[in-house]
Symmetry: C2
Subunit: 352 residues, 2 copies
């Protein structure tokens, strides 16, 4: 049954939830989205794999990118959708078919937006980053993502969360010399040698930085520690894994240099890194959007796909229906009031 | 074929090696040992499970306990025995059928020792301590182990290693509060909280203590460390496992109190403990034995079964043929010169 875009946002969200689309199985939902949008003559449609890009080309002064992923985590007794009172339940209702429904309705019905819009519906967000359709597009077709502002419609409880912090993981390794613990003076204990590393972590004072009026609060934490050979052996290796969450005014290179400074004198190996995203609230389009939405704009601390826009130099914010605490949960749900509010807010902002 | 005790120590060691006796499979060797000793009218034989005790009862002023275990670790391509030049190869040749052969010959042929002797041939030494025949005897028939000095004939390269250090393991656990690492200020990092624990370990100055002219050198080492929930979580628990090797002038209670003092303010859980053994070199019998053996008497750092005698208040030393570095190795072996020297030294000491 084709997707009907001549309906309300609650019905459309339910219809999207009812199309199973676990990661790597997005063929059906991508086909349905492409078919539903292809009848809109004001949109130029392009498809890359299971990622659908629909653009208005009205020659407006500004262009905004509105993005949402089509895939979900595996079902957990929460398929298909179920409407109970003011709440729509079901897999993906919160993360993030509610946001996708809003974007699809805007794409179909706001035919003459005051800002040009690029809608991006992508696959592979809930699994390893190599499958991420938005990431693929950023690498292979950055022209399709060009714009002045990006809005990622992930659940934010219908409030604006601007930018996001970067994240970096590194291993700090100490070495020693193995010996029988009964003759420990013959060896050198690598776990003991971690003492100054933990001391630096314990006394580390994280930076707080103001960007566009938002306070980003960094953090440097040990997230793992390991060492030991056997109960009677002085260990010759120990490792502490740290996770550095850094404000978006630092590049990944800056963050790496900072870790090298903090742990100077120790071997540090970078294992994982993703950039932050600038909030871009000083830009007119973003400021106007924030004014339309109202309420407090918050900095985003957790890393999200908005950072995919960073490499393209596009400020990005998170804004969508649903409480993110219920993402990936069996009792995933979205309040229909938020679906309606987010839809009307976005429609108003695109129209005025 | 019954064990022939009217032979030399090399032939007898080879014969013992050729009786397979992996731990928990000591029936055959225990039967053979019991049968071989039962013809000696100067010995009183008792058997508990697969542990054979043979005693002289001459009313001497002193009694010495001479002990050796009958079991071996699993074979590793080194069964049966193989004599090559001056070296006897094979499973258990070093650990410790050479020592058992010496003890059996002494038991059979030194019919009127100047010191009463209790020979103990026991099972279950190479596996979990619950199976240890000597330990069972110490708990259930301590009367059979009574004496003024114990000699455990484990391999010591034919030199005296006196007493042994105790060993104790404990976990030191820190707790915190879990949080997403992107909002780490919401939590409390248990790994960071280990910093003072590692600091105390790193700056710990181990005691050196003189006992009967021997210097025992203690050691306190982290032998394991672990913590961490996931790469994006501030961990709420971390554990460091320490191993304390303590000189035999400390009881286990003393050692435990010491650890509690060192790690005051932290939760400490004792997981494993075994007492040390006093060297007893100031006793006339031990001093005489040391003089007979000659060479340097060394303190024993690694824990051995001599400590089984500690609970009975009996000083104990390690003395036997074979280099302990080859115990449990595929190329396990014993020099026949050591077999002969240890045998003649022991025979002389029991006879004069």
């Amino acid at each position: 049954m084709p997707l009907d875009l001549n309906t309300d946002v609650v019905t459309l969200t339910a219809a999207l939830v009812d199309i199973a689309s676990e990661s790597l199985d997005e063929q059906q939902i991508a086909d349905d989205v492409e078919a539903a949008l292809s009848t809109a003559s004001h949109l130029k449609i392009e498809r890359e794999g299971h990622t659908i890009v629909a653009r208005t080309e009205l020659g407006r002064a500004e262009r905004v990118v509105i993005a949402g992923h089509l895939d979900t985590v595996p079902a957990n007794g929460n398929f298909p959708s179920r409407l109970e009172g003011e709440i729509l339940h079901g897999l993906g209702s919160c993360d993030m078919k509610g946001g996708v429904a809003v974007a699809l309705l805007l794409a179909a019905h706001v035919t003459e937006p005051v800002r040009d819009v690029t809608y991006v519906f992508y696959d592979g967000e809930e699994i390893a980053s190599e499958f991420n359709g938005l990431g693929k597009l950023a690498r292979t077709r950055p022209d399709l993502l060009a714009g002045d502002l990006a809005i990622l419609m992930e659940p934010t409880d219908a409030g604006i969360e601007a930018g996001c912090q970067g994240t970096m993981r590194a291993d700090i390794r100490t070495t020693g010399e193995r010996a029988h613990s009964a003759r420990s003076w013959m060896g050198s204990n690598a776990i003991h040698a971690l003492s100054p590393v933990l001391d630096r972590l314990m006394t580390y004072v994280p930076r707080e930085v103001d960007i566009d009026g938002l306070t980003y609060r960094e953090g440097l934490n040990a997230v793992g520690i390991s060492g030991g050979v056997a109960g009677n052996v002085v260990p010759d290796e120990a490792i502490v894994t740290v996770n550095f969450r850094f404000a978006p005014d630092r590049t990944e290179d800056d963050a790496h240099r900072h870790l090298q400074e903090v742990f100077e004198g120790f071997g540090l190996t970078l294992t994982d890194s993703a950039p932050g995203a600038m909030p871009g609230l000083s830009q007119p389009s973003t400021a106007a959007f924030a004014a339309t939405v109202g309420g407090e704009v918050k900095p985003k601390f957790g890393w999200t796909d908005v950072a995919q826009f960073t490499v393209l130099g596009i400020p990005a914010i998170n804004y969508g229906p649903g409480d993110p605490m219920f993402a990936h949960k069996a009792d995933e749900h979205v309040p229909i009031e938020q679906l309606r509010r987010v839809h009307s807010t976005m429609a108003a902002w695109l129209s005025a």
